[in-house]
Amino acid sequence: MSKQKLVIIGNGMAPGRMLEHLFEQSPDAFDVTIFNAEPRVNYDRIMLSPVLSGEKSFEEIIIHGDGWYIKHGIMLYKGHKIVDISREAKTVTSDQGVTESYDKLVIATGSNPFIIPMPGHDMAGVLSYRDLDDVTAMMLAAQSRQKAVVIGGGLLGLEAAAGLQARGMEVTVVHLMPTLMERQLDPSAGYLLQEELESRGINVKTGANSKRIVGDKKVEGLELENGEIIDCSLIVMAVGIRPNIGLAQEADLKVERGIIVDQAMRTIDPDILSLGECTQIDGQVYGLVAPLYEMARVAAHTLGGDDSHSFVHQDTATKLKVTGVDLFSVGDFAEGDDRDEIVLRDANAGIYKRIILKDDKIIGTVLYGETSDGAWLNDLKKKGTDVSEMRDTLIFGQAYQGGAAMDPMAAVAALPDDAEICGCNGICKSKIVGTINDMGLTSLDEVRAHTKASASCGTCTGLVEQLMTLTLGDSFDPNAVQSMCPCTDLGHGDVRRLIKAKELKTIPAVMQELEWKTSCGCAKCRPALNYYLVADWPDVYADDYQSRYINERVHANIQKDGTYSVVPRMWGGMTSSKELRAIADVVDKFEIPSVKVTGGQRIDMLGIKKEDLPAVWADLGQAGFVSGQAYAKGLRTVKTCVGTNWCRFGTQDSTGLGIKLEKFMWGSWTPAKLKLAVSGCPRNCAEATCKDIGIICVDSGFEIHFAGAAGLDIKGTEVLGSVPTENEALEHVVALAQMYREQGFYLERIYKWAARIGLDEIRKQIMEDHDRRKDYFDRFVFSQKFAQVDPWSERVSGKDKHEFNPMATLDLEAAE
């Protein structure tokens, strides 16, 4: 049976979860195509607040990396917004002109933030809080360290406020209602929360109605209804979301507040499903993740041909992701004649607990300041347990039921099997314990991968770890290091330390002495060990060719069809007519299909057959080119601007310094790729402030930067320090690179290494400890004696000849 075509509009958490279910149930049923208006993969939107506050990086909140899409054969159009659905032709068309046909279509367009249409709402400096672009924009705005106003004192608004404050802004929250988070908290808890936020320096104005935004093209302040004007350069509106239903409306699907679906998540067109925040089911639209994941589960079954599953509404518990603020709320907490309540207040400790009862059953809970009994109370509520017997002690929590106080482990042990541990994903205790036992899981990452527990917002991580300790006994240590790979229990740090301490100088020696569990390692540990040995023993270690990834073995970059791309060095990005002519001749001679200018200021020739590589290099070598090592976990490019040579703003010879650095450092291996740049003035045309190491030239000398990123993560560099002369700049950069070479874990970019080691420690060792810096520098220079050999000319002279030629070419009749 041929596969059906499934097209999904939107790439958020709900369709991502739906696909996981679908691939588990019927892996071969569909060819999947996804159109994502955001230019990126599926990430955990709930965790944007920790990214804003700087507690997590974007990389850490990715749910499905590019590899996942490749593995499942999914065509993902990033940055394509669907503009038309044709139900007759069963096709969709994107704003970039791509049309795809479908057998089944899933609309998961999510929601749009609501922008209050007050005067000035379209000015620069007005943001919403919805996706990574918003977070990036807020982080940029926060660099000004000026004032910000957040309109909306709900969950998102308060997280935005806390994040902006953590980034150094002075923040005011303007909230229309009399107390904060009135949909999740009763007035007492809302008041405590407001006090807490104010004590941290966040201004809160409740009962405040915004009137207009003040400013000329750019935000200068917010005027309230009462005439008060709050000065600010940034306004974030977090006042709610609107389901994104325009596309469905134009396709004549039935919509009200959201796109209307039946219990099996189908719209009025049986071949079109809808799920996520854009969807309306049973008259309700949802914005929290748990019900959206429930929709995903049902939709996957429906697509798989089983429409007997139906969506079940459940109350979702709320938590605020602001570090140090503990609050928990679930259910209904309005007052009423038929209701009864139990309240505990401890003003000094800032604790407030309220349980709302109806007919001796819990219908709602609000906890502030101390929330550890949230899961237990929620469980009693869900089951409709009659609590009349324990009424007197209920408010003190689970520990006070039946005598002595329990320690946290005993409390977890006492939870019933069906107690919900992970609210986002609806995972209960028995599912986690069962999966740990059945699959022999031993790490938190494995438990996350197989059960999804603690894989979304992460607030239940502690509970999950306690469950793991309970199930696995002392063999589980939540603080244990991650092992390098399944071949060893040691982490990268231990392996690096032991290689030096025990003077291990070959891969077999490392494997023997450190008790490797496999006979010759795997594709993860062997390249890492090879790097550590090259870096630590440059003069005596014989590079293990078979432990290098193919690109570093054949000194070119493998492409998806098995051909290779070749990038010669262009020192500091400078070239000449002679070089360009030589490249043109090579392209013609070998009929190279594509030639591209790279982001690192050089030229890439793509689509070269492996057998042709040595001949291509021979011709390039004749023209004076050496390998650009565009494939290496090593020094890549040094990008420059034209500096004082040409530029009217240049302060130093940035091109010259770039060329010096590249000529000094080429050939060196590093834990992960290393890209440099030198800009001739603070206008920074060489974009040095997002590089692994960057230099900004100024009148008085050279400002050295490091630990930037412009890939999966976007991160500005940190300043290492300033030096007056070019030679000192070179010495400091080289010493820094050597420190990273000696301490980095394999595949760990310099910004991650820096975060692990600490910026101050690095500054101390490189900028202040002159002897140490000199030692690093000398060790780098020593290792370069063995590293600066052009790999291309070596291979033109016959090295590794076997790699490029077949061992035999048989004619077609040979076997007859």
């Binding site: 006979s519 010759c520 078979q546 193919i550 493998i558 035999a808």
Partner: protein
């Protein structure tokens, strides 16, 4: 009698010396449009597989050889050299061919190719 012995000896094709293939490495044998990757493990066992990963046709001969497996250079699928099947959570199979060593010579049986 004679006819049978001709068939049995001729199905094995001599492709070169064992030392042509590096330990924990591979070499290619080409026949028409097909490429066969001949692998040699750390402990000197030889295996032959079509040079195509079952996932996206990646050239397995360019992968890293470890224990009895090769890791595809394109997306890190791990393929068993003995059975040709993908290991772990991935599913798929690459065609395998019998190989034998006679003295220093390496012989391959490609009858399955036709």
């Amino acid at each position: 009698m004679n006819a049978i012995s001709v068939v049995t000896t001729e199905k094995w094709i001599d492709i070169g010396e064992t030392s042509d293939v590096p330990r924990r490495g591979a070499r290619c044998v080409k026949k028409g449009d097909t490429t066969i990757a001949v692998f040699r493990t750390q402990d000197d066992n030889f295996f032959a597989l079509e040079d195509k990963c079952p996932h996206k046709n990646g050239p397995l001969s360019n992968g890293i050889v470890h224990d009895g497996c090769v890791t595809c250079p394109l997306h890190n699928w791990v393929i068993s050299l003995k059975t040709g099947s993908a290991q772990g959570a991935d599913e798929g199979e690459t065609k395998t061919f019998p190989v034998k060593v006679e003295g220093e010579r390496l012989l391959i049986d490609l009858e399955d190719l036709f």
